[in-house]
């Protein structure tokens, strides 16, 4: 009888621990590194504003670089600086879910993806289109 009681209690505690762990792991992945994503978005805009295309291109995701170069390797820097990307410096909000992030800035919305320990810009110069995807000057495929 004693054994049955302790087993019931152990099962209840065990269940609570498992659920708690699952909830924790689910929650821990909700907003990983929003500050880092915001910092990368700011660095990207600073580089573009300073005319430093090379630094800005290094902050882009490979798919965005490919899209920008459009079959002309090495053309990223020049092509990026030709685009009309609204100047932005202040971050108003940033959200990160899993390996993707969105940084809202005073004059722009920037999308990023996580690669290893760093964030890379997948889209910038973006304007909202209601329920449809943002229309972006720079974007990866």
């Amino acid at each position: 009888m004693v054994r049955r009681r302790s087993c019931t209690r152990a099962a209840t505690v065990g269940t609570a621990v498992v659920l708690g762990a699952v909830a924790l792991t689910g929650c821990s992945s909700l907003n990983p590194g929003t500050d880092d994503a915001a910092k990368t978005a700011q660095e990207f805009h600073s580089a573009v504003a300073a005319g430093d295309g090379e630094t800005a291109c290094n902050l882009l995701a490979p798919s965005a670089v490919e899209e920008l170069e459009d079959g002309a390797p090495g053309a990223c820097s020049d092509k990026l600086l030709e685009l009309v990307i609204p100047g932005a410096s202040q971050v108003t909000d940033s959200k990160a879910y899993g390996s993707n992030a969105q940084v809202l800035m005073d004059q722009d919305t920037v999308f990023l993806t996580r690669s290893g320990d760093t964030w890379k810009v997948t889209a910038a110069g973006c304007t909202p289109q209601g329920e449809s995807p943002y229309d972006c000057e720079v974007k990866g495929s």
Binding site: T8, Y97, G98
Partner: protein, 225 residues
């Protein structure tokens, strides 16, 4: 006669191991699939720990858990009042309902070896009398909550990848994505229980307590092997 504990606990050990092997298999195959997509996007691959703590893994686990626990919770609770003539999953037709204290061996009718809370009376007996449904139901609610949180995170991640706003958790609770994930699991669980209840009226599995004895008549209700 004293049996080896591996024999007396064989069913729980067997299913415990099947659960662990399946969960580990899900983790490794899910990681491989996730990294295939990362490589296709020219992004760094992730490790096992990062994957098993990701929202996409957690939502896949939780959405299956909640539906399984809902299935058993409903079967436990509805079978108090609903019966099925001829099914070993059902009580006899005349035993519908919560039954008397005498039939349930509670309070003054408890046996010397009955659980302590069955004898105690008051709130203890009331809680213990419903403890199976309460715990199974609580695990269902908890799993569903985890599914909603992790599911929102995974949904928001795909929204961002598609250059769309992520939305909020409360918006996600009313979204087709959440209800599609939920209902596609529920329908399969309910079908499985329905099949089990009906098929076990006419079919047999010799030696299984989930079946009537092979020679038992089809219309004999509530009998197991």
């Amino acid at each position: 006669m004293k049996h080896n504990p591996f024999i007396t606990n064989g069913l729980s050990i067997g299913f415990g191991l099947l659960f662990l092997f399946s969960l580990v298999g899900q983790a490794f195959s899910g990681l491989a699939y996730y990294n295939e997509q990362q490589v296709a996007s020219q992004l760094d691959e992730i490790g096992l720990l990062q994957y098993v703590t990701s929202s996409s893994f957690v939502v896949d686990v939780a959405e299956n858990w909640q539906s399984e626990y809902l299935q058993f919770t409903l079967l436990i609770l509805l079978a108090v009042w609903l019966v099925q003539k001829g099914s070993p999953e059902s009580k006899e037709i005349d035993k519908r309902g919560r039954q008397s204290d005498k039939e349930q061996l509670v309070g003054q009718f408890a046996k010397p070896n009955s659980p302590k809370w069955a004898k105690a009376g008051g709130w203890r007996t009331a809680v213990f009398s419903n403890s199976l449904g309460l715990v199974m139901g609580a695990i269902f609610v908890g799993s569903w909550l985890v599914q909603s949180v992790a599911g929102f995170s995974a949904f928001a991640e795909s929204q961002l990848a598609n250059l769309q706003d992520p939305g909020t958790w409360s918006e996600y609770l009313g979204s087709p994505e959440f209800w599609n994930r939920t209902l596609q699991n529920w329908q399969s669980e309910f079908l499985a229980v329905w099949s089990m209840v009906i098929l076990a009226v006419y079919l047999r599995q010799r030696g299984s307590p989930e079946s009537k004895a092979v020679g038992m008549p089809h219309d004999k209700t509530g009998a197991s092997n």
